[in-house]
Symmetry: C2
Subunit: 313 residues, 2 copies
Protein backbone atom coordinates (compact mmCIF):
# COMPACT_ATOMS: atom_id res chain seq x y z
CA UNK A 1 0.00 0.00 0.00
CA UNK A 2 0.97 3.65 -0.35
CA UNK A 3 1.08 5.88 2.69
CA UNK A 4 2.11 9.32 3.86
CA UNK A 5 5.51 8.77 5.42
CA UNK A 6 7.74 10.88 7.65
CA UNK A 7 11.39 10.79 6.55
CA UNK A 8 13.99 13.14 8.02
CA UNK A 9 11.55 15.92 8.86
CA UNK A 10 9.69 15.69 5.57
CA UNK A 11 6.45 14.04 4.62
CA UNK A 12 6.29 12.10 1.34
CA UNK A 13 4.56 9.06 -0.17
CA UNK A 14 6.15 5.63 0.18
CA UNK A 15 5.21 2.01 -0.40
CA UNK A 16 4.64 -0.07 2.78
CA UNK A 17 3.58 -3.68 3.32
CA UNK A 18 -0.18 -4.05 3.67
CA UNK A 19 -1.10 -4.22 7.37
CA UNK A 20 -2.98 -7.28 8.63
CA UNK A 21 -5.75 -7.07 11.19
CA UNK A 22 -4.95 -8.77 14.51
CA UNK A 23 -7.35 -10.02 17.16
CA UNK A 24 -10.34 -7.69 17.45
CA UNK A 25 -9.01 -5.45 14.68
CA UNK A 26 -10.54 -4.30 11.41
CA UNK A 27 -8.70 -3.62 8.13
CA UNK A 28 -10.06 -0.38 6.67
CA UNK A 29 -9.68 0.76 3.06
CA UNK A 30 -9.17 4.44 3.84
CA UNK A 31 -11.23 7.00 1.89
CA UNK A 32 -10.49 10.07 3.99
CA UNK A 33 -7.97 11.00 6.69
CA UNK A 34 -7.77 14.32 8.54
CA UNK A 35 -4.62 16.24 9.44
CA UNK A 36 -4.14 17.32 13.04
CA UNK A 37 -1.70 19.31 15.15
CA UNK A 38 -0.22 16.06 16.46
CA UNK A 39 0.85 15.15 12.89
CA UNK A 40 2.76 18.44 12.66
CA UNK A 41 4.46 17.76 15.99
CA UNK A 42 5.32 14.23 14.88
CA UNK A 43 6.79 15.65 11.65
CA UNK A 44 9.01 17.95 13.72
CA UNK A 45 10.13 14.98 15.85
CA UNK A 46 8.43 16.28 18.98
CA UNK A 47 5.57 13.80 19.35
CA UNK A 48 6.58 10.21 18.59
CA UNK A 49 3.76 7.77 17.83
CA UNK A 50 2.71 5.66 20.82
CA UNK A 51 3.88 2.03 21.09
CA UNK A 52 1.93 -0.28 18.78
CA UNK A 53 1.41 2.42 16.15
CA UNK A 54 3.35 2.84 12.95
CA UNK A 55 6.40 4.98 13.79
CA UNK A 56 6.62 6.69 10.39
CA UNK A 57 3.05 6.81 9.00
CA UNK A 58 1.19 9.75 10.53
CA UNK A 59 -2.58 10.09 10.84
CA UNK A 60 -4.72 9.97 13.97
CA UNK A 61 -8.09 9.61 12.29
CA UNK A 62 -9.57 7.99 9.24
CA UNK A 63 -12.76 6.88 7.58
CA UNK A 64 -13.28 4.19 4.97
CA UNK A 65 -14.76 0.85 4.10
CA UNK A 66 -14.17 -2.40 5.99
CA UNK A 67 -11.93 -4.63 3.84
CA UNK A 68 -11.34 -7.53 6.22
CA UNK A 69 -11.90 -8.59 9.82
CA UNK A 70 -9.29 -9.93 12.23
CA UNK A 71 -10.04 -12.87 14.53
CA UNK A 72 -12.85 -12.17 17.05
CA UNK A 73 -13.83 -8.90 15.37
CA UNK A 74 -17.64 -8.95 15.44
CA UNK A 75 -18.95 -5.37 15.39
CA UNK A 76 -18.74 -4.77 11.61
CA UNK A 77 -19.00 -6.58 8.27
CA UNK A 78 -16.91 -6.23 5.12
CA UNK A 79 -18.26 -3.25 3.18
CA UNK A 80 -19.42 -1.24 6.22
CA UNK A 81 -18.57 2.47 6.29
CA UNK A 82 -16.54 3.12 9.44
CA UNK A 83 -14.44 5.85 11.02
CA UNK A 84 -12.35 6.27 14.12
CA UNK A 85 -9.27 7.47 15.94
CA UNK A 86 -6.07 5.48 15.56
CA UNK A 87 -2.81 5.75 17.47
CA UNK A 88 -1.19 6.58 14.13
CA UNK A 89 -0.97 5.21 10.60
CA UNK A 90 -4.27 6.67 9.41
CA UNK A 91 -2.88 8.54 6.39
CA UNK A 92 -2.48 5.39 4.30
CA UNK A 93 -4.45 3.40 1.74
CA UNK A 94 -5.02 0.73 4.39
CA UNK A 95 -5.15 0.95 8.16
CA UNK A 96 -5.89 -1.47 10.99
CA UNK A 97 -7.95 -0.21 13.90
CA UNK A 98 -9.42 -2.04 16.90
CA UNK A 99 -13.14 -2.48 16.34
CA UNK A 100 -13.95 -0.87 19.73
CA UNK A 101 -12.37 2.36 18.46
CA UNK A 102 -14.46 2.42 15.29
CA UNK A 103 -17.87 3.96 14.75
CA UNK A 104 -20.29 3.57 11.88
CA UNK A 105 -20.27 6.63 9.56
CA UNK A 106 -23.67 8.38 9.68
CA UNK A 107 -25.56 8.20 6.34
CA UNK A 108 -25.56 11.99 6.17
CA UNK A 109 -21.73 12.19 6.14
CA UNK A 110 -19.81 11.64 2.88
CA UNK A 111 -16.26 10.48 2.21
CA UNK A 112 -13.69 11.96 2.54
CA UNK A 113 -15.31 14.36 5.08
CA UNK A 114 -15.92 11.51 7.55
CA UNK A 115 -12.14 11.15 7.81
CA UNK A 116 -11.97 14.55 9.47
CA UNK A 117 -14.74 13.87 11.97
CA UNK A 118 -13.40 11.56 14.71
CA UNK A 119 -10.47 13.48 16.20
CA UNK A 120 -11.90 16.96 16.57
CA UNK A 121 -15.45 15.97 17.48
CA UNK A 122 -14.28 13.36 19.99
CA UNK A 123 -11.86 15.88 21.50
CA UNK A 124 -14.50 18.59 21.66
CA UNK A 125 -17.19 16.30 23.05
CA UNK A 126 -14.88 14.82 25.66
CA UNK A 127 -13.69 18.28 26.72
CA UNK A 128 -16.95 20.18 27.00
CA UNK A 129 -19.36 17.40 27.97
CA UNK A 130 -17.45 14.51 29.58
CA UNK A 131 -14.91 16.74 31.37
CA UNK A 132 -16.63 20.13 31.56
CA UNK A 133 -20.15 18.72 31.99
CA UNK A 134 -21.75 21.49 29.95
CA UNK A 135 -25.53 21.50 30.48
CA UNK A 136 -28.39 22.80 28.33
CA UNK A 137 -28.89 26.52 28.94
CA UNK A 138 -25.37 27.05 30.24
CA UNK A 139 -22.93 29.53 28.70
CA UNK A 140 -19.79 28.29 26.93
CA UNK A 141 -16.78 30.34 25.85
CA UNK A 142 -14.61 28.70 23.17
CA UNK A 143 -11.17 30.33 23.21
CA UNK A 144 -9.70 29.85 19.74
CA UNK A 145 -12.89 28.80 18.01
CA UNK A 146 -11.74 28.80 14.37
CA UNK A 147 -9.65 25.62 14.56
CA UNK A 148 -10.84 22.08 14.08
CA UNK A 149 -11.69 21.42 17.72
CA UNK A 150 -13.11 24.92 18.13
CA UNK A 151 -15.56 24.64 15.24
CA UNK A 152 -16.61 21.20 16.48
CA UNK A 153 -17.15 22.54 20.02
CA UNK A 154 -19.21 25.50 18.81
CA UNK A 155 -21.51 23.22 16.85
CA UNK A 156 -21.90 20.56 19.55
CA UNK A 157 -22.63 23.09 22.29
CA UNK A 158 -25.27 24.79 20.14
CA UNK A 159 -26.87 21.45 19.28
CA UNK A 160 -26.99 20.67 23.02
CA UNK A 161 -28.79 23.91 23.87
CA UNK A 162 -25.94 25.99 25.29
CA UNK A 163 -25.26 29.68 24.69
CA UNK A 164 -21.97 29.91 22.78
CA UNK A 165 -19.45 32.75 22.69
CA UNK A 166 -16.57 32.13 20.26
CA UNK A 167 -13.30 34.05 20.41
CA UNK A 168 -11.39 34.19 17.11
CA UNK A 169 -8.09 36.07 16.73
CA UNK A 170 -8.07 36.21 12.90
CA UNK A 171 -10.77 38.66 11.69
CA UNK A 172 -10.96 36.83 8.33
CA UNK A 173 -12.25 33.70 10.07
CA UNK A 174 -14.93 35.28 12.25
CA UNK A 175 -17.57 35.19 9.54
CA UNK A 176 -17.12 31.46 9.07
CA UNK A 177 -17.53 30.80 12.80
CA UNK A 178 -20.60 33.04 12.90
CA UNK A 179 -22.11 30.92 10.11
CA UNK A 180 -21.84 27.90 12.41
CA UNK A 181 -24.36 29.68 14.63
CA UNK A 182 -22.29 30.98 17.57
CA UNK A 183 -24.30 33.57 19.52
CA UNK A 184 -21.31 35.90 19.67
CA UNK A 185 -18.06 35.78 17.70
CA UNK A 186 -15.59 38.12 19.38
CA UNK A 187 -12.04 39.39 19.30
CA UNK A 188 -10.10 37.74 22.16
CA UNK A 189 -9.29 41.21 23.54
CA UNK A 190 -11.92 42.00 26.14
CA UNK A 191 -13.48 38.55 26.24
CA UNK A 192 -13.89 38.90 30.03
CA UNK A 193 -16.71 41.41 29.44
CA UNK A 194 -18.82 38.71 27.77
CA UNK A 195 -18.95 36.49 30.88
CA UNK A 196 -19.92 34.95 33.17
CA UNK A 197 -19.37 31.58 31.51
CA UNK A 198 -20.20 28.21 33.00
CA UNK A 199 -17.58 26.46 30.89
CA UNK A 200 -14.50 27.83 29.13
CA UNK A 201 -12.88 25.61 26.51
CA UNK A 202 -9.29 26.86 26.40
CA UNK A 203 -7.60 26.02 23.10
CA UNK A 204 -5.04 28.86 23.13
CA UNK A 205 -3.14 28.53 26.41
CA UNK A 206 -1.72 30.15 29.50
CA UNK A 207 -2.06 33.84 28.53
CA UNK A 208 -5.85 33.47 28.74
CA UNK A 209 -6.08 31.68 32.09
CA UNK A 210 -6.35 34.73 34.36
CA UNK A 211 -9.11 36.19 32.23
CA UNK A 212 -10.83 32.81 31.94
CA UNK A 213 -11.07 32.70 35.73
CA UNK A 214 -12.31 36.31 35.95
CA UNK A 215 -14.99 35.55 33.36
CA UNK A 216 -16.06 32.30 35.02
CA UNK A 217 -19.42 31.85 36.73
CA UNK A 218 -19.77 30.36 40.21
CA UNK A 219 -19.25 26.59 39.91
CA UNK A 220 -17.61 27.17 36.51
CA UNK A 221 -15.21 24.84 34.73
CA UNK A 222 -12.14 25.71 32.63
CA UNK A 223 -11.11 22.87 30.32
CA UNK A 224 -7.60 23.25 28.89
CA UNK A 225 -6.71 21.12 25.88
CA UNK A 226 -4.44 23.45 23.91
CA UNK A 227 -1.43 25.54 24.96
CA UNK A 228 0.09 26.74 21.67
CA UNK A 229 0.37 30.29 23.08
CA UNK A 230 2.17 29.14 26.23
CA UNK A 231 1.87 26.68 29.08
CA UNK A 232 3.06 28.56 32.18
CA UNK A 233 0.17 30.38 33.81
CA UNK A 234 -0.39 32.34 36.98
CA UNK A 235 -3.28 31.07 39.02
CA UNK A 236 -4.98 32.83 41.96
CA UNK A 237 -6.17 29.98 44.15
CA UNK A 238 -8.29 32.30 46.32
CA UNK A 239 -10.18 33.45 43.22
CA UNK A 240 -10.61 29.79 42.22
CA UNK A 241 -12.02 29.06 45.70
CA UNK A 242 -14.33 32.06 45.51
CA UNK A 243 -15.77 30.78 42.24
CA UNK A 244 -15.90 27.20 43.58
CA UNK A 245 -14.38 26.46 40.20
CA UNK A 246 -12.25 23.81 38.61
CA UNK A 247 -9.51 23.69 36.00
CA UNK A 248 -9.22 20.47 34.09
CA UNK A 249 -6.74 19.54 31.39
CA UNK A 250 -6.47 16.57 29.14
CA UNK A 251 -5.19 14.94 25.98
CA UNK A 252 -6.80 12.10 24.06
CA UNK A 253 -3.81 10.42 22.46
CA UNK A 254 -2.09 9.21 25.61
CA UNK A 255 -5.14 7.42 26.97
CA UNK A 256 -5.27 3.64 27.16
CA UNK A 257 -7.38 1.62 24.71
CA UNK A 258 -10.35 1.17 27.04
CA UNK A 259 -10.66 4.92 27.66
CA UNK A 260 -10.41 5.71 23.96
CA UNK A 261 -13.04 3.09 23.24
CA UNK A 262 -15.26 4.70 25.89
CA UNK A 263 -15.00 8.03 24.02
CA UNK A 264 -16.11 6.25 20.83
CA UNK A 265 -19.19 4.86 22.62
CA UNK A 266 -19.95 8.35 23.98
CA UNK A 267 -19.67 9.70 20.42
CA UNK A 268 -22.14 7.09 19.15
CA UNK A 269 -24.65 7.99 21.87
CA UNK A 270 -24.27 11.74 22.09
CA UNK A 271 -22.74 13.14 18.89
CA UNK A 272 -23.54 10.98 15.86
CA UNK A 273 -27.31 11.58 16.21
CA UNK A 274 -26.58 15.29 15.55
CA UNK A 275 -24.87 14.31 12.29
CA UNK A 276 -27.75 11.97 11.33
CA UNK A 277 -30.17 14.87 11.78
CA UNK A 278 -27.92 17.29 9.91
CA UNK A 279 -27.56 19.60 12.94
CA UNK A 280 -23.78 19.33 12.83
CA UNK A 281 -21.32 18.95 9.97
CA UNK A 282 -17.58 18.56 9.36
CA UNK A 283 -16.24 21.94 8.20
CA UNK A 284 -13.71 21.19 5.45
CA UNK A 285 -11.09 23.76 4.46
CA UNK A 286 -9.56 21.70 1.63
CA UNK A 287 -9.09 18.14 0.45
CA UNK A 288 -5.79 16.90 -1.05
CA UNK A 289 -4.98 13.68 -2.91
CA UNK A 290 -2.35 11.49 -1.19
CA UNK A 291 0.21 12.50 -3.86
CA UNK A 292 -0.10 16.11 -2.66
CA UNK A 293 0.44 15.27 1.00
CA UNK A 294 3.36 17.71 1.27
CA UNK A 295 1.08 20.56 0.14
CA UNK A 296 -1.56 19.47 2.62
CA UNK A 297 0.94 19.67 5.50
CA UNK A 298 2.18 23.03 4.25
CA UNK A 299 -1.38 24.33 4.18
CA UNK A 300 -2.02 23.07 7.71
CA UNK A 301 1.20 24.59 9.05
CA UNK A 302 0.38 27.94 7.46
CA UNK A 303 -2.81 28.35 9.49
CA UNK A 304 -5.47 30.86 8.55
CA UNK A 305 -7.94 28.14 7.59
CA UNK A 306 -11.41 27.37 8.87
CA UNK A 307 -12.15 23.67 9.15
CA UNK A 308 -10.32 20.46 8.41
CA UNK A 309 -7.61 19.64 5.87
CA UNK A 310 -8.19 16.16 4.51
CA UNK A 311 -6.35 13.56 2.48
CA UNK A 312 -8.34 11.45 0.06
CA UNK A 313 -7.36 8.05 -1.34
CA UNK B 1 -29.36 34.43 76.18
CA UNK B 2 -25.64 34.86 76.53
CA UNK B 3 -23.42 34.64 73.49
CA UNK B 4 -19.86 35.12 72.30
CA UNK B 5 -19.92 38.57 70.72
CA UNK B 6 -17.50 40.45 68.48
CA UNK B 7 -17.04 44.07 69.58
CA UNK B 8 -14.35 46.30 68.10
CA UNK B 9 -11.97 43.48 67.25
CA UNK B 10 -12.43 41.67 70.56
CA UNK B 11 -14.55 38.71 71.52
CA UNK B 12 -16.47 38.84 74.80
CA UNK B 13 -19.72 37.59 76.33
CA UNK B 14 -22.89 39.68 76.00
CA UNK B 15 -26.60 39.27 76.60
CA UNK B 16 -28.76 39.03 73.43
CA UNK B 17 -32.48 38.53 72.89
CA UNK B 18 -33.42 34.87 72.55
CA UNK B 19 -33.74 33.99 68.86
CA UNK B 20 -37.05 32.58 67.62
CA UNK B 21 -37.27 29.82 65.07
CA UNK B 22 -38.83 30.84 61.75
CA UNK B 23 -40.43 28.65 59.10
CA UNK B 24 -38.58 25.36 58.81
CA UNK B 25 -36.15 26.34 61.56
CA UNK B 26 -35.25 24.66 64.84
CA UNK B 27 -34.27 26.38 68.10
CA UNK B 28 -31.27 24.55 69.55
CA UNK B 29 -30.06 24.74 73.15
CA UNK B 30 -26.35 24.72 72.35
CA UNK B 31 -24.12 22.30 74.30
CA UNK B 32 -21.00 22.56 72.20
CA UNK B 33 -19.71 24.91 69.49
CA UNK B 34 -16.41 24.61 67.61
CA UNK B 35 -14.04 27.43 66.70
CA UNK B 36 -12.92 27.74 63.07
CA UNK B 37 -10.60 29.84 60.96
CA UNK B 38 -13.58 31.79 59.66
CA UNK B 39 -14.32 32.98 63.21
CA UNK B 40 -10.80 34.38 63.44
CA UNK B 41 -11.20 36.16 60.11
CA UNK B 42 -14.56 37.55 61.21
CA UNK B 43 -12.93 38.80 64.45
CA UNK B 44 -10.34 40.64 62.35
CA UNK B 45 -13.10 42.18 60.24
CA UNK B 46 -12.11 40.30 57.09
CA UNK B 47 -14.98 37.83 56.74
CA UNK B 48 -18.37 39.37 57.50
CA UNK B 49 -21.20 36.97 58.31
CA UNK B 50 -23.45 36.21 55.33
CA UNK B 51 -26.88 37.93 55.07
CA UNK B 52 -29.44 36.38 57.41
CA UNK B 53 -26.84 35.43 60.02
CA UNK B 54 -26.13 37.30 63.24
CA UNK B 55 -23.55 39.98 62.36
CA UNK B 56 -21.82 39.97 65.77
CA UNK B 57 -22.22 36.43 67.17
CA UNK B 58 -19.60 34.15 65.61
CA UNK B 59 -19.84 30.38 65.33
CA UNK B 60 -20.28 28.27 62.19
CA UNK B 61 -21.12 25.00 63.89
CA UNK B 62 -22.93 23.78 66.96
CA UNK B 63 -24.50 20.80 68.63
CA UNK B 64 -27.21 20.68 71.24
CA UNK B 65 -30.75 19.73 72.12
CA UNK B 66 -33.88 20.77 70.25
CA UNK B 67 -35.76 23.32 72.42
CA UNK B 68 -38.53 24.35 70.03
CA UNK B 69 -39.67 23.95 66.45
CA UNK B 70 -40.63 26.73 64.03
CA UNK B 71 -43.66 26.42 61.76
CA UNK B 72 -43.40 23.53 59.26
CA UNK B 73 -40.30 22.07 60.90
CA UNK B 74 -40.90 18.31 60.84
CA UNK B 75 -37.57 16.48 60.88
CA UNK B 76 -36.93 16.60 64.65
CA UNK B 77 -38.74 16.63 68.00
CA UNK B 78 -38.07 18.63 71.13
CA UNK B 79 -35.32 16.87 73.06
CA UNK B 80 -33.52 15.41 70.01
CA UNK B 81 -29.73 15.69 69.95
CA UNK B 82 -28.79 17.61 66.78
CA UNK B 83 -25.79 19.28 65.18
CA UNK B 84 -25.06 21.27 62.09
CA UNK B 85 -23.42 24.13 60.25
CA UNK B 86 -24.91 27.60 60.63
CA UNK B 87 -24.19 30.77 58.71
CA UNK B 88 -23.08 32.25 62.04
CA UNK B 89 -24.41 32.69 65.58
CA UNK B 90 -23.45 29.21 66.76
CA UNK B 91 -21.40 30.33 69.78
CA UNK B 92 -24.44 31.18 71.90
CA UNK B 93 -26.68 29.52 74.46
CA UNK B 94 -29.40 29.37 71.82
CA UNK B 95 -29.21 29.22 68.04
CA UNK B 96 -31.73 28.83 65.23
CA UNK B 97 -30.81 26.60 62.31
CA UNK B 98 -32.84 25.43 59.32
CA UNK B 99 -33.86 21.81 59.90
CA UNK B 100 -32.40 20.75 56.51
CA UNK B 101 -28.94 21.82 57.74
CA UNK B 102 -29.20 19.77 60.93
CA UNK B 103 -28.17 16.16 61.48
CA UNK B 104 -28.90 13.83 64.36
CA UNK B 105 -25.88 13.39 66.66
CA UNK B 106 -24.66 9.77 66.54
CA UNK B 107 -25.10 7.96 69.88
CA UNK B 108 -21.37 7.37 70.04
CA UNK B 109 -20.57 11.12 70.06
CA UNK B 110 -20.83 13.13 73.32
CA UNK B 111 -21.44 16.81 73.98
CA UNK B 112 -19.58 19.11 73.64
CA UNK B 113 -17.47 17.14 71.10
CA UNK B 114 -20.39 16.97 68.65
CA UNK B 115 -20.20 20.77 68.38
CA UNK B 116 -16.80 20.41 66.69
CA UNK B 117 -17.90 17.77 64.21
CA UNK B 118 -19.99 19.44 61.48
CA UNK B 119 -17.67 22.05 59.97
CA UNK B 120 -14.45 20.11 59.59
CA UNK B 121 -15.97 16.75 58.70
CA UNK B 122 -18.38 18.29 56.19
CA UNK B 123 -15.54 20.31 54.68
CA UNK B 124 -13.25 17.28 54.51
CA UNK B 125 -15.94 14.97 53.13
CA UNK B 126 -17.07 17.47 50.52
CA UNK B 127 -13.46 18.12 49.44
CA UNK B 128 -12.08 14.61 49.18
CA UNK B 129 -15.20 12.63 48.22
CA UNK B 130 -17.78 14.96 46.62
CA UNK B 131 -15.20 17.13 44.81
CA UNK B 132 -12.11 14.92 44.63
CA UNK B 133 -14.03 11.64 44.20
CA UNK B 134 -11.51 9.65 46.23
CA UNK B 135 -12.08 5.91 45.72
CA UNK B 136 -11.20 2.90 47.88
CA UNK B 137 -7.63 1.84 47.25
CA UNK B 138 -6.58 5.23 45.93
CA UNK B 139 -3.75 7.28 47.45
CA UNK B 140 -4.49 10.57 49.22
CA UNK B 141 -1.99 13.25 50.27
CA UNK B 142 -3.27 15.64 52.95
CA UNK B 143 -1.15 18.80 52.88
CA UNK B 144 -1.39 20.34 56.35
CA UNK B 145 -2.90 17.34 58.10
CA UNK B 146 -2.70 18.49 61.74
CA UNK B 147 -5.54 21.03 61.56
CA UNK B 148 -9.22 20.39 62.06
CA UNK B 149 -10.02 19.64 58.42
CA UNK B 150 -6.78 17.70 58.00
CA UNK B 151 -7.40 15.34 60.91
CA UNK B 152 -10.97 14.81 59.67
CA UNK B 153 -9.74 14.07 56.15
CA UNK B 154 -7.12 11.59 57.34
CA UNK B 155 -9.71 9.65 59.34
CA UNK B 156 -12.42 9.68 56.63
CA UNK B 157 -10.04 8.57 53.89
CA UNK B 158 -8.73 5.70 56.05
CA UNK B 159 -12.28 4.62 56.92
CA UNK B 160 -13.09 4.60 53.19
CA UNK B 161 -10.16 2.33 52.33
CA UNK B 162 -7.70 4.84 50.90
CA UNK B 163 -3.94 4.96 51.46
CA UNK B 164 -3.19 8.19 53.36
CA UNK B 165 0.00 10.25 53.42
CA UNK B 166 -0.17 13.20 55.83
CA UNK B 167 2.22 16.15 55.68
CA UNK B 168 2.66 18.03 58.95
CA UNK B 169 5.03 21.00 59.31
CA UNK B 170 5.18 21.02 63.15
CA UNK B 171 7.19 17.98 64.35
CA UNK B 172 5.38 18.07 67.72
CA UNK B 173 2.09 17.27 66.03
CA UNK B 174 3.22 14.38 63.82
CA UNK B 175 2.77 11.76 66.54
CA UNK B 176 -0.86 12.77 67.04
CA UNK B 177 -1.60 12.46 63.32
CA UNK B 178 0.16 9.09 63.21
CA UNK B 179 -2.16 7.93 66.02
CA UNK B 180 -5.11 8.65 63.74
CA UNK B 181 -3.75 5.88 61.51
CA UNK B 182 -2.16 7.73 58.56
CA UNK B 183 0.09 5.34 56.62
CA UNK B 184 2.85 7.95 56.44
CA UNK B 185 3.23 11.18 58.39
CA UNK B 186 5.90 13.26 56.69
CA UNK B 187 7.70 16.58 56.74
CA UNK B 188 6.35 18.74 53.89
CA UNK B 189 9.89 19.02 52.49
CA UNK B 190 10.26 16.29 49.90
CA UNK B 191 6.60 15.27 49.83
CA UNK B 192 6.86 14.80 46.04
CA UNK B 193 8.90 11.63 46.62
CA UNK B 194 5.95 9.96 48.33
CA UNK B 195 3.71 10.13 45.23
CA UNK B 196 2.04 9.42 42.95
CA UNK B 197 -1.20 10.48 44.62
CA UNK B 198 -4.67 10.16 43.14
CA UNK B 199 -5.98 13.02 45.26
CA UNK B 200 -4.16 15.87 47.00
CA UNK B 201 -6.10 17.82 49.63
CA UNK B 202 -4.31 21.18 49.71
CA UNK B 203 -4.88 23.00 53.02
CA UNK B 204 -1.68 25.09 52.94
CA UNK B 205 -1.74 26.99 49.67
CA UNK B 206 0.07 28.16 46.57
CA UNK B 207 3.66 27.26 47.50
CA UNK B 208 2.73 23.57 47.32
CA UNK B 209 0.91 23.60 43.97
CA UNK B 210 3.85 22.87 41.69
CA UNK B 211 4.90 19.92 43.83
CA UNK B 212 1.31 18.73 44.14
CA UNK B 213 1.14 18.51 40.35
CA UNK B 214 4.51 16.72 40.13
CA UNK B 215 3.36 14.20 42.73
CA UNK B 216 -0.01 13.63 41.09
CA UNK B 217 -0.98 10.37 39.40
CA UNK B 218 -2.53 10.22 35.93
CA UNK B 219 -6.17 11.31 36.25
CA UNK B 220 -5.33 12.87 39.64
CA UNK B 221 -7.25 15.61 41.41
CA UNK B 222 -5.91 18.51 43.49
CA UNK B 223 -8.55 19.97 45.81
CA UNK B 224 -7.63 23.39 47.23
CA UNK B 225 -9.59 24.61 50.24
CA UNK B 226 -6.92 26.49 52.19
CA UNK B 227 -4.41 29.15 51.13
CA UNK B 228 -2.98 30.49 54.40
CA UNK B 229 0.56 30.23 52.97
CA UNK B 230 -0.32 32.17 49.82
CA UNK B 231 -2.83 32.23 46.98
CA UNK B 232 -0.79 33.09 43.86
CA UNK B 233 0.56 29.97 42.24
CA UNK B 234 2.40 29.10 39.05
CA UNK B 235 0.70 26.43 37.03
CA UNK B 236 2.16 24.48 34.11
CA UNK B 237 -0.84 23.72 31.93
CA UNK B 238 1.11 21.27 29.77
CA UNK B 239 1.97 19.25 32.88
CA UNK B 240 -1.71 19.37 33.89
CA UNK B 241 -2.67 18.07 30.42
CA UNK B 242 -0.04 15.33 30.60
CA UNK B 243 -1.49 14.13 33.89
CA UNK B 244 -5.07 14.53 32.56
CA UNK B 245 -5.56 16.16 35.93
CA UNK B 246 -7.85 18.67 37.53
CA UNK B 247 -7.53 21.40 40.12
CA UNK B 248 -10.67 22.19 42.04
CA UNK B 249 -11.18 24.79 44.74
CA UNK B 250 -14.07 25.52 47.00
CA UNK B 251 -15.48 27.04 50.17
CA UNK B 252 -18.53 25.88 52.09
CA UNK B 253 -19.72 29.09 53.70
CA UNK B 254 -20.67 30.97 50.53
CA UNK B 255 -22.89 28.21 49.19
CA UNK B 256 -26.66 28.64 49.01
CA UNK B 257 -28.95 26.87 51.49
CA UNK B 258 -29.86 24.00 49.18
CA UNK B 259 -26.21 23.12 48.54
CA UNK B 260 -25.37 23.27 52.24
CA UNK B 261 -28.35 21.06 52.97
CA UNK B 262 -27.11 18.61 50.34
CA UNK B 263 -23.77 18.37 52.19
CA UNK B 264 -25.69 17.53 55.39
CA UNK B 265 -27.52 14.69 53.63
CA UNK B 266 -24.19 13.42 52.24
CA UNK B 267 -22.80 13.50 55.81
CA UNK B 268 -25.75 11.45 57.08
CA UNK B 269 -25.25 8.83 54.37
CA UNK B 270 -21.48 8.64 54.13
CA UNK B 271 -19.86 9.96 57.32
CA UNK B 272 -22.11 9.50 60.37
CA UNK B 273 -22.07 5.68 60.02
CA UNK B 274 -18.31 5.85 60.67
CA UNK B 275 -18.99 7.70 63.93
CA UNK B 276 -21.74 5.20 64.91
CA UNK B 277 -19.24 2.38 64.46
CA UNK B 278 -16.49 4.23 66.30
CA UNK B 279 -14.17 4.24 63.26
CA UNK B 280 -13.86 8.01 63.37
CA UNK B 281 -13.85 10.53 66.24
CA UNK B 282 -13.67 14.27 66.82
CA UNK B 283 -10.13 15.09 67.94
CA UNK B 284 -10.46 17.72 70.69
CA UNK B 285 -7.53 19.92 71.66
CA UNK B 286 -9.32 21.75 74.49
CA UNK B 287 -12.77 22.76 75.70
CA UNK B 288 -13.51 26.19 77.17
CA UNK B 289 -16.55 27.49 79.05
CA UNK B 290 -18.33 30.41 77.35
CA UNK B 291 -16.94 32.80 80.00
CA UNK B 292 -13.43 31.92 78.80
CA UNK B 293 -14.21 32.59 75.14
CA UNK B 294 -11.36 35.11 74.84
CA UNK B 295 -8.87 32.43 75.95
CA UNK B 296 -10.38 29.98 73.48
CA UNK B 297 -9.81 32.42 70.60
CA UNK B 298 -6.29 33.15 71.82
CA UNK B 299 -5.53 29.43 71.89
CA UNK B 300 -6.90 28.97 68.36
CA UNK B 301 -4.93 31.95 67.00
CA UNK B 302 -1.72 30.62 68.58
CA UNK B 303 -1.79 27.41 66.55
CA UNK B 304 0.31 24.40 67.49
CA UNK B 305 -2.75 22.38 68.47
CA UNK B 306 -4.04 19.05 67.23
CA UNK B 307 -7.81 18.88 66.96
CA UNK B 308 -10.70 21.17 67.74
CA UNK B 309 -11.09 23.97 70.24
CA UNK B 310 -14.61 23.92 71.63
CA UNK B 311 -16.90 26.13 73.67
CA UNK B 312 -19.29 24.49 76.11
CA UNK B 313 -22.51 25.97 77.51
Amino acid sequence: MRAATIRDGEVLVEEHPDPEPGVGQVLVGVRGAGLNGADMMQLRGRYPAPPGSSPDIPGLELAGVVEALGPQAVRFEVGDRVMGIAGGGGQAELAVVHERQLMRVPDAVEFPDAGGLPEVFTTAHDAIFTQGRLRPGERLLVQGAAGGVGTAAVQLALAAGAHVTASVRNPDLRGGVAKLGAHEVIDPEGFVDYGPFDVVLELVGAPNLGGDLKALAINGRIVVIGVAAGAKAELNLLALMGKRARIMASTLRARPLEEKAATARAMEREVLPFFERGDVRVPVAKTYALNDVASAYEHFAGGGKLGKILLTF
